[in-house]
C-alpha cells in the first residue's frame, strides 16, 4: 500500500527536484562538505582547551607574532599589487622590442617556490654569499649593504615569488577590457595616466583583488620561506604549539583563529569586488593598440620588468644552476626520473580533480545559488590559507576515522584487518591537494564565468537546452581558457606543495619537493639546488603553456 502511494507521489516531487537543479546542488553540496571535513576536524581542537598554553603564548610571543603577520600581509599585499599591476599594464599598453617575450617571461617566477627563492636570496646576498664577497674584495670591509635577513627581506622575497598571481589576472583583465574603453576615456579628455587610474584600474579591480587575495592566503599559509628568514609569524605559533609544546589541539585552535580571520577578510574581499560587473568589449580584443614610448619613459617601461625578472627569476636560477653544477655528478641518479614522474603524475591527477570540482561547484553556485551552497563554497576555499601541515593533519584524521570504521566492519565480516586503506593511497593525496588548492582552481573558473554575459545562459535555456547541455555546449567552449588556467595553476602549485605530500604520500612516492625538504632541513642548501632546478624546469612547461594560451585566446 505504502509503496504505491509513495510511487505516485514520488515522480512529481522527484521530477520537480530534478528539474530545479537538485542533482547539481546535491553533488556540489557533497563535494563542498567533503572539502570542509578536514577543516572541521581542525576546529575540533576546541574540545580540549589548555588555558596554560594560551596564557603562555599571550604572555610571551603572541603580540609580536600578530604584529609581524600583519606587517607581512601589508607589505606583500602592496608589493604584489604594485609589481603585478605595473607589469601587467606595461605589457598590455606599451609596445617595445621584446615585449612579446617579456609577456610570458614575467610569469616564470610562478615556477619558483617561495621557500626556494628564500634560500637562494639568503645564499646570494647575505654576508657569506658571492655578492658581499665581491663587494668586500672591491671596497674593503667597510661597505654598506642592506640586511638581508630582515622584515624588508622577507617582504621582498614573498612579493617576488607571488606577484605572478596579480600579474596574470590583471593582465587578463586589461586585455579583456579592450582598447576601446581606454580610447573612449582619452576622447573624453583624460590623460593616459588618468585613463589608467580612473578607467582601466577600477575596471580591473576584481581581478587585482582576486590575485592579491591568492597571494596573501599563500603568505599566511607559508612556513618554509619565513622560517628560512627566522621571521616569526602566526604560522610559527601554530607549529610551536604542535612541535615545541606537543599540543596539537592548541595548534588546531590557533589555526582555526587564522581561518576565522581569513573568512572575515574574504567577506571583505567580496565587498571590495563590489556588485559591479564589467563585461569587456569583445570586438576590441583582437586589435590592441599599444603606445610606443621614447626617452626616459621608454627606459622605465623596459627597465622595470627586466629588473623584476632579474631578481625574481634570472639571478635565482643562475645561483641554483651554479650550486647544481657542484653536486650534480654525485647526486644525480636514476631515482630522479621517479621523483620527476611522481611530481608530474600527482600534479596531473590533482589538477584534473580540483578543476572538475571547481567547475561543478561554480556552475551550481551560479545557477542554483542556494545560500547554503554559497556559504559552503566560501568555507571550502579557505583551505588555501591554512598552513599545509595543519591541513594535512586534518585530512589525515578524517581519513583515519573513515579507515577505522571500514576496518571494523571488515574485521567483523572476515576476521582480519584489511590490507588496504585510504590513508597512504594516491587517492587520499590527490584529495588533499583538492582541498588545499580548490581556492586557486575556483578563482580561475569563477572569474571565467564572470565574463559570460548572463543573457547567453538565458538564451540557451530559452531555446530548450538542459543544464548539462548548457554547460557542455555553451559554457565549456567559453570557459576553456579559464579552465586551462585553473588546471595549470593547480598543477604548478601541487608540484611545489610540501607538507601534505610529505605526510600523505604512499610508500615510494617521493617527489622533487620531498627531496628539497629533506636536503634543506639538513641545511644542505647547495645539494637542494638540484631538485629545486628540476622542479623549476618541470614547472616552466605548464607556466609557458599558461601564458601562451592566455595570449592566443584573446
Amino acid at each position: 500500500m505504502n509503496s504505491v502511494l509513495v510511487s505516485q507521489a514520488m515522480p512529481r516531487r522527484w521530477s520537480q527536484w530534478w528539474h530545479s537543479g537538485g542533482p547539481w546542488r546535491l553533488t556540489a553540496g557533497v563535494l563542498a562538505l567533503l572539502v570542509l571535513l578536514p577543516i572541521a576536524v581542525i576546529f575540533t581542537g576546541w574540545v580540549q582547551i589548555d588555558s596554560e598554553v594560551w596564557r603562555h603564548l599571550a604572555d610571551t610571543v603572541l603580540t609580536g607574532l600578530v604584529r609581524n603577520t600583519l606587517v607581512l600581509l601589508l607589505g606583500v599585499g602592496v608589493g604584489v599589487t604594485v609589481i603585478g599591476v605595473s607589469l601587467a599594464w606595461i605589457t598590455t599598453a606599451y609596445e617595445f622590442r621584446g615585449r612579446a617575450a617579456l609577456e610570458w617571461l614575467l610569469m616564470l617566477p610562478l615556477a619558483v617556490p617561495p621557500y626556494v627563492l628564500a634560500f637562494v636570496f639568503i645564499g646570494m646576498f647575505d654576508f657569506s654569499g658571492p655578492v658581499q664577497a665581491f663587494l668586500n674584495g672591491w671596497l674593503g670591509p667597510n661597505y654598506w649593504f642592506p640586511e638581508v635577513r630582515s622584515e624588508g627581506g622577507v617582504i621582498l622575497v614573498m612579493s617576488l615569488a607571488l606577484y605572478p598571481y596579480v600579474y596574470m589576472l590583471a593582465r587578463a583583465a586589461f586585455i579583456a577590457q579592450g582598447r576601446s574603453v581606454i580610447e573612449a576615456a582619452r576622447i573624453h579628455g583624460l590623460t593616459p595616466r588618468q585613463a589608467f587610474l580612473k578607467v582601466a584600474l577600477p575596471m580591473a579591480r576584481p581581478a587585482v583583488v582576486a590575485g592579491m587575495s591568492l597571494a596573501l592566503m599563500e603568505t599566511l599559509a607559508d612556513f618554509g620561506a619565513v622560517s628560512i628568514f627566522n621571521y616569526d609569524t602566526f604560522t610559527t605559533a601554530i607549529y610551536k604549539a604542535w612541535f615545541g609544546l606537543f599540543n596539537l589541539p592548541a595548534a588546531g585552535q590557533l589555526a582555526s583563529l587564522l581561518l576565522l580571520f581569513v573568512f572575515v577578510a574574504l567577506i571583505g574581499e567580496g565587498r571590495l569586488r563590489g556588485k559591479a560587473r564589467y563585461h569587456g568589449d569583445a570586438r576590441g580584443q583582437r586589435h590592441l593598440y599599444r603606445a610606443r614610448l621614447h626617452g626616459w619613459r621608454k627606459a622605465l617601461v623596459v627597465g622595470w620588468p627586466l629588473l623584476v625578472l632579474t631578481f625574481a627569476f634570472i639571478l635565482p636560477l643562475w645561483q641554483l644552476l651554479t650550486w647544481t653544477w657542484q653536486v650534480v655528478a654525485d647526486d644525480l641518479d636514476e631515482r630522479y626520473w621517479d621523483l620527476l614522474l611522481h611530481t608530474l603524475t600527482l600534479g596531473g591527477f590533482a589538477a584534473l580533480f580540483t578543476v572538475s570540482s571547481a567547475l561543478l561547484i561554480a556552475y551550481t553556485r551560479r545557477h542554483f545559488g542556494h545560500p547554503l551552497v554559497r556559504f559552503n563554497v566560501r568555507l571550502a576555499t579557505l583551505g588555501y590559507a591554512l598552513p599545509g601541515s595543519v591541513l594535512a593533519v586534518g585530512i589525515m584524521t578524517a581519513f583515519a576515522w573513515v579507515d577505522d570504521r571500514v576496518a571494523d566492519a571488515y574485521e567483523a565480516g572476515f576476521g582480519v584487518l584489511p590490507d588496504w586503506a585510504l590513508m597512504g593511497s594516491v587517492f587520499a593525496l590527490v584529495f588533499a591537494y583538492g582541498v588545499r588548492f580548490l581556492a586557486v582552481a575556483y578563482g580561475a573558473v569563477d572569474s571565467a564565468f564572470e565574463r559570460i554575459r548572463p543573457s547567453i545562459m538565458e538564451a540557451a535555456r530559452g531555446l530548450g537546452a538542459s543544464h548539462g547541455e548548457v554547460l557542455r555546449r555553451v559554457y565549456l567552449p567559453i570557459l576553456r581558457p579559464g579552465l586551462l588556467t585553473g588546471t595549470l595553476l593547480v598543477f604548478v602549485e601541487v608540484m611545489k606543495e610540501m607538507p601534505a605530500t610529505l605526510l600523505l604520500r604512499p610508500f615510494g612516492w617521493d617527489t622533487l619537493a620531498v627531496r628539497i625538504y629533506e636536503l634543506t632541513s639538513e641545511g644542505e642548501w647547495e645539494r637542494a639546488a638540484l631538485p629545486a632546478v628540476a622542479l623549476v624546469l618541470a614547472g616552466l612547461g605548464p607556466v609557458i603553456l599558461l601564458v601562451r594560451r592566455s595570449a592566443t585566446t584573446h
Partner: protein, 357 residues
Amino acid sequence: MHPYLSYGVLILMSFNPIRRSLLAATLGALSLGFALPALSADKVVVYSARKDHLIKPLFDAYTAKTGVEIDFITDKEGPLLQRLKAEGRRTPADLLITVDAGNLWHAAHEGVLAKIDSAILNGNVPAHLRDPDGQWFGLSIRARTIVRSTDRVPPSELSTYEDLADPKWKGRLCLRTSKKVYNQSLVAMMIARHGMDEAERIVKGWVANLAEPPFSNDTKAMQAVAAGKCDVTVVNTYYFGRLQKSEPNLPLAIFWPNQGQDGHAAGTGVHVNISGAGVTRYAKHPQAAQALLEWLSSDEAQALFASLNMEYPVKAGVEIDPLVAAWGGFKADETNLAEAGRLQAEAVKLMDRAGYK
C-alpha cells in the same frame, strides 16, 4: 597500474582535458589503488624522520645482506607521530626513526612504541642513550658543542655553555633559532641540571650577548663567525664537519665545553643528543623490525651510520670518520636523554620568556 602507464593515460586525457577530466580522475583513483605495503614476513616498514640520504644507504646494505625489503617514508617527527597515533592498530609502520631523543620520549609517552628486551641492544647501546623502559634506543650520537673563531678567540677564553651568558661575550655570540629541537634539548638538559630559574638566567644572558638575530641553521651561524659578525656559536659537530669539507680554510675550530672535574658544574660534559629508533606497538613485523634495530646497533651498521653524516657511533669501539677523530675526544653529558623529552615543552616556554627567537 604502473605509474608510467597512468602517466600515459594522463597525457592522452590532456588532449581534451575538460570533457574527460572526470573519467581521468576516476580512473586514476581506481588504478592507483589503496594498497598498503604487502604483509610479507621479509619486510619492514619504517617511518623515518632521518632523511633519505642519511638512512637509505643503511637500508640498502641490510637488504643486500639479508634479503629483507624495507619500505619507508620520511617526514618531520610531529606529523609522523600523529600519523602513527591516527592509524592506531592498523598502522603499517614497524619502526619509527627520529633524529632526537625528545620526540622518541614523546612517542613512548603517547603509547605508540613497544617495549623491547634485547640483550644485543642493551649491550650495544649505553644506558643513558636508551629509554629506561626499553621503548627506544639511540643509534648515533650528535654532539652539540661550541665553535670558535681561531682569529679572535683563544681556547683559554672558553669554558662552558653557561659561561656564554657572561657579559664578556656581549655582541660576540651567534645562535641558531630556538625553534630547532637541538637547542630545545640543550636547554631542557640545563633545566634538569640547574633548575628552572638558573637556566632562565643563563638563556637570558645568551640572548643579551647575541651579535645577530638567531639563524635558521647551524651552517649560517658558523659562517657568521667566519665572516667576523660574531666570535662563537653552538652547533652540532657534523655541520662543522660538512663545512670543513667544503671550505677547509675557514678560521673556525671546535671547542669541547664543560670538560672540568666530575661533580662540578664545569664538568658535566658536552651536550649530546641521539638519532634513534623504536619498534611500534602495533608492528605487523615485530621480529623483523627488532632484527633490523639490532643490526643497526652492530659494528658494521654503526660505522656506516655514523660516517654517513659524520656523527658518533653509540657502540663503543666502533671506528669513526678520520675527520671526526681529528677533533679529539670529549667527555659527554651522561644524564639520561629521557630528561630532554620530559622537559622539552618547559624549555620552549623558557626560551619564549627569555626572548630567544
